[in-house]
Each structure stands twice: as structure tokens, then as C-alpha cells.
């Protein structure tokens, strides 16, 4: 997907003025609420009219103020998953799902509905009434409905923010599976760093209607730590757990990790706060921490009275956050070998 955009739109007390080109198939638009993220979604999808500029998707001009081109939303082929699922209340789940599908020319239908329902785990919901569904189910059905309309790319406007805290990330594996299986490019709009890191490779950071940064997601996270983000959170992808005494053992690259939490899925995601990693110069003989990993320091960067140390543990990476005095005492510099101690309970399960 190649998307070239230059847009201006003025409201009473807010002006959006952005220009960007996207080619990644997993892009995020990140910014605080009121920064103009949803306005971009409305302008791209054709639900709102820009004052000036253009939108080009590959060879197709979707909007060009100078040439007076403005494709209607139904002709743009851009799918949108909104913050709230907005399932049509007068239709059952099945009719909702096929609303867009029926409007696609049969020759252009590329997705097998049954296959998609399997991937999203909604096959058993088809005959249900929409009012009986949970938030996560509704959002999965909204996504399936959009995917079946055969869009050239999908805009996801804060799709997790309306879900309850406890269950919101359970939908992530489904989202990932859909985008991996069908190769549909997407733009993920959110104000959550964690969601950005799980769903996107590159990110546009937007503030007060202007683009502040266009970067890879990890770079954005690393750069943004001195502007309000206190500590870095390591995201650890782990496979199937095997039990180890009363704990659980996971393979992580070349090494193993011992955790208190079990993961039932094939792929499990845990978060590990960079402040929860202790660094030792030599292998401590005995410690209460269940994980002692020998690592090489690959990078050090500091901000104020805190230092982040990038570590390579075998073929995996971690970031630990310590204070400058510890750096001096341990003599930490690039290529130093240290031992990272992590408690089994420091890993918090996301999904």
C-alpha cells in the first residue's frame, strides 16, 4: 500500500494540517485525545470533507481539492472499524456480517467468510441477536464485517478503548491473525503506547493537529521516555508453558524463563517493567529471583537521573532502567557482561 496524503481542515477552535506518505502495512497514528487522530480517519474514509489537499492511494486519487475530485465513502474501498462496534441493531449478527460483502462485486470477493469466522472465533455467534453479545465479540464482528467488504486498507479508530480493562487485550491475537492471514494493510489509531507496540511497525505521532514524528514504533517508544513516559515496558512474546515445580517454564530465544503465570495459548504476551530488572556484575550465588540471565550491554542512554541499559540476552533483547550511580559502581558500558535478575512474578500477562 502506498498512501500519500496532504490535508488541511479548519474547525472553530482547531486546525488539522498534515502531510505524510505511508508504505508500511502496519502503521499507527498516535497522539493524545483531541490531537486530530479521528479527524484524519474521517477525512481519509470520506466521511468528512477536507478544506484543501489530496489523498492518493496507489494510483487512485481519492480526493484532490484542486482537481475537484472527491470519491464518496462507498467508492473509496477503505474499511473503518470504529471505537464502538456500531453493529446495526435491526439486523442479526449474520446480516450485519454480510452487509458489506453483499455489496462487493462477486468477482472481487477475495475472502472466504467461513474461513474468516474461524480465524476470529465467531462462527458460533452467527445466529445470535446483536444485543446479546459482549464488547469483545461485538468488536470482532465489526472487524469481520469490515474485512468482508473487501477494503484496500482498514482504519482502526481506537478499537480497544471501549472494551473493559480486564478483557481488552484478549482481542489482540484475533486482530493480528486477521491482518497476518489476509495481508490487509491497516492504520491503527490509538493513544495507548502499549497498543501501538502490539499492533504497528511504524507510527505517526500527532499533536494539536500537526505531525510531530514519523518513526518506527520502537524508536518512538525509546525516544519518548523523557516526555512523560516514566519507565520502559519490555514486551515479551512467549510460547507454550511447561510446568516447573509450582511455576511455569517458557522458552525464550536460547534461554528459558520461569514465570508465576501460565499461558494457555500458543502465543502469549507478557509485560516486564524495565525497573523490575536488577543488574549484577557477577553471578550471585543465591537469590530469590528465579531468572538470572547473562547479558551483554548493547547501548546506554540517560535522561535526568535515570539510565536505560539495552541488553542482549542470547538472541533476545531487554531494556533495564537503573540510576547513574549504579552505572558507575557496576562499571557498565557498551559490551560489558552483566547478569540480569528478574523475579518470576515480575512478568504481567497481557494476553
Amino acid at each position: 500500500m502506498q498512501l500519500d496524503v496532504e490535508l488541511k481542515k479548519s474547525f472553530k477552535d482547531f486546525t488539522l494540517d498534515v502531510a505524510f506518505s505511508l508504505s508500511s502495512s502496519r502503521t499507527g497514528i498516535f497522539g493524545p485525545s483531541g490531537s486530530g487522530k479521528s479527524t484524519i480517519m474521517h477525512l481519509l474514509s470520506g466521511l468528512d470533507l477536507p478544506d484543501s489537499g489530496y489523498i492518493r492511494l496507489g494510483d487512485t486519487v481519492l480526493f484532490d481539492a484542486k482537481k475537484k475530485i472527491n470519491l464518496k465513502p462507498d467508492l473509496r474501498n477503505i474499511g473503518v472499524v470504529f471505537q464502538h462496534a456500531h453493529l446495526f441493531p435491526h439486523m442479526n449478527v449474520k446480516r450485519n456480517l454480510f452487509y458489506g460483502y453483499k455489496r462487493v462485486n462477486p468477482e472481487n470477493r477475495q475472502i472466504d467468510p467461513d474461513d474468516l469466522f474461524e480465524v476470529l472465533g465467531i462462527a458460533q455467534l452467527l445466529s445470535r441477536d446483536v444485543s446479546t453479545l459482549s464488547g469483545g465479540e461485538r468488536q470482532r464482528i465489526a472487524l469481520a464485517r469490515t474485512v468482508l467488504s473487501n477494503p484496500r486498507f482498514i482504519l482502526m479508530d481506537e478499537p480497544l478503548s471501549a472494551l473493559d480493562e480486564g478483557h481488552k487485550f484478549q482481542i489482540i491475537p484475533y486482530l493480528k491473525n486477521v491482518f497476518n492471514n489476509y495481508g490487509i494493510p491497516m492504520i491503527f489509531i490509538s493513544h495507548s503506547v502499549l497498543e501501538m507496540r502490539m499492533m504497528t511497525d511504524e507510527v505517526l505521532v500527532i499533536e494539536k493537529g500537526r505531525i510531530q514524528q514519523h518513526n518506527s514504533t520502537e524508536e518512538m517508544v525509546k525516544k519518548s521516555w523523557n516526555c512523560g513516559l516514566e519507565s520502559y515496558v519490555n514486551l515479551i512474546h512467549l510460547g507454550v508453558a511447561s510446568s516447573y515445580k509450582d511455576l511455569f517454564r517458557y522458552k525464550w530465544g536460547d534461554t528459558t524463563l520461569i514465570l508465576t503465570e501460565s499461558g494457555e495459548r500458543e502465543e502469549n504476551l507478557f509485560e516486564l517493567d524495565s525497573r523490575d530488572i536488577l543488574l549484577f556484575k557477577r553471578h550471585p550465588e543465591a537469590t530469590s529471583a528465579r531468572n538470572l540471565l547473562q547479558c551483554i550491554v548493547t547501548n546506554i542512554y540517560s535522561s535526568g537521573n535515570r539510565v536505560r541499559v539495552e541488553l542482549a540476552c542470547g538472541n533476545e533483547h531487554l531494556i533495564a532502567q537503573i540510576v547513574p550511580e549504579s552505572v558507575r559502581e557496576l562499571g557498565i558500558e557498551k559490551s560489558t557482561i552483566v547478569v540480569a535478575a528478574i523475579k518470576a512474578s515480575a512478568f504481567k500477562k497481557i494476553f
Binding site: L47, K72, D74, H84, F88, H90, Y99, R103, V104, S149
Partner: protein
């Protein structure tokens, strides 16, 4: 007692008044519905400046005395009126005809229908329309598959309100269409005639009972359909 019941029986004039009433109310309601939906949509979602003026004009018959509405209609549809002249050329006679009764009922009942539809359409979350558009539905497609079904209850309520109002319409009808038995004499006009002739009380009462039963039946049917809509 038996003789009293016998006295409540309907004459052929009564029967034709009942049939005419139903004919007028049905035609006026059905003809007005598409316009009512269009006006309701315009008032709910239109962004034109003159909206308030249009709303005022549509609602005017609701607050004006029906006799005034009837007189204004007579002026425009009469043989010297602007619309009347044009219709005359086409050979259509409005004054003192069934057509006149339908037009009078339609004009008087229209604001009630529009109000109900407008309120119903305003309650339709516009996000559903946005979603349907991004799913590939054009404007009309979205209107027929999302807006209309979601405001179906309000449209039906507007129709039944207008139908009930039409059954009772008197003032505008008597001026534009007159009170001709078998041609334009609906139930209220027949009751009026009975009460103004000596000894017509019984016959007036019979038609009153018919009128009450009809109105009650409309209420029941509309409630029934409404709750079915609600359950969906």
C-alpha cells in the same frame, strides 16, 4: 331495550359516511407518507439556513384554526385560485369533491406526521449511516437499509397519528369539500348534520359510537405493531 338497540342501527347514509371517512383518511395518510418522510429527513438532517422557515410552514396547520386552513385551501384550489386554474385545465375538480376532502385532511394531518418522523429520525445514531457508507452502501442504499428501518417505529406512529386525526377532520373539509352526503360527507360532517336537524340525536349518537370504536381500534392496532417493532 331491543328497540333501543334497533334504533342504534346504521342507515345507508351512515354507512357511506363511514366508508368515505376511511377512504379519505387512508388516501390522505398514504399519499402524505413519502412526503412526510422526506420532510422529516430534511428537518432532522438538513443543513440549509431556511430550515426554520420550512418547519414553520409545515407546522402552521397544527396551530391555525382548521377553518382558516380550509378557507386558504379554497382560495388556492377554487376556480380562480392559482392551483385551481391549473387543475381546471387538466379537468380536475377539487372543490366540493372527494379529492378536496383528501387534500384538506392531508394538509391538516401532515404536521403531526412530520413531527413524529422527525423526532424518530433525529434519534437514529448517524454512526450507523457512516458505517454503512464505509461498507460500500451509497446514499440511497444507506437510507433504505439503515435510516428507514431504524425510524420505522416513528414513521408508523406518525402514520397512525395522522390517520386518527384525519378521521376527525371537520373544519377544513367542510369549507373545501362541503357536506354532500355520499360524496364528501365523512363521519364528523354527518354527525354535525344530524345534530342540526330535529330528532337526529339518536343517529348522531350511533355515529359517535362508531367513531369511538374506530379510534379505539386504531390505538390498539398501533400499540400492537409498536410493541412488535420494539421487540425486534
Amino acid at each position: 331495550m331491543a328497540s333501543e338497540i334497533a334504533m342504534l342501527s346504521l342507515s345507508s347514509q351512515d354507512l357511506s359516511a363511514i366508508v368515505l371517512s376511511l377512504k379519505v383518511a387512508c388516501s390522505a395518510t398514504l399519499i402524505s407518507t413519502p412526503f412526510g418522510i422526506a420532510c422529516g429527513y430534511f428537518l432532522a438532517f438538513g443543513k440549509t439556513r431556511g430550515k426554520a422557515v420550512v418547519e414553520g410552514i409545515i407546522s402552521l396547520p397544527l396551530v391555525l384554526p382548521p377553518v382558516v386552513v380550509g378557507y386558504l385551501l379554497l382560495l388556492s384550489f377554487g376556480s380562480n385560485g392559482i392551483i385551481g386554474k391549473f387543475l381546471n385545465m387538466l379537468g380536475i375538480q377539487v372543490v366540493f369533491s372527494l379529492t378536496g376532502a383528501v387534500i384538506a385532511s392531508a394538509v391538516v394531518g401532515f404536521p403531526l406526521m412530520v413531527r413524529s418522523i422527525r423526532i424518530g429520525m433525529e434519534a437514529v445514531d448517524q454512526s450507523y449511516v457512516s458505517v454503512s457508507r464505509t461498507l460500500g452502501a451509497g446514499w440511497w442504499d444507506s437510507f433504505f437499509t439503515i435510516v428507514l428501518p431504524l425510524s420505522g417505529r416513528a414513521i408508523f406512529a406518525g402514520m397512525s397519528l395522522m390517520f386518527a386525526r384525519n378521521l376527525g377532520e371537520f373544519g377544513a373539509t367542510v369549507i373545501l369539500a362541503g357536506n354532500i352526503p355520499g360524496v364528501t360527507q365523512t363521519i364528523p360532517l354527518a354527525i354535525y348534520e344530524y345534530t342540526s336537524v330535529p330528532g337526529g340525536d339518536r343517529m348522531a349518537l350511533t355515529l359517535c359510537l362508531v367513531s369511538i370504536s374506530l379510534s379505539f381500534a386504531i390505538l390498539l392496532v398501533s400499540e400492537g405493531i409498536n410493541s412488535r417493532f420494539g421487540r425486534r
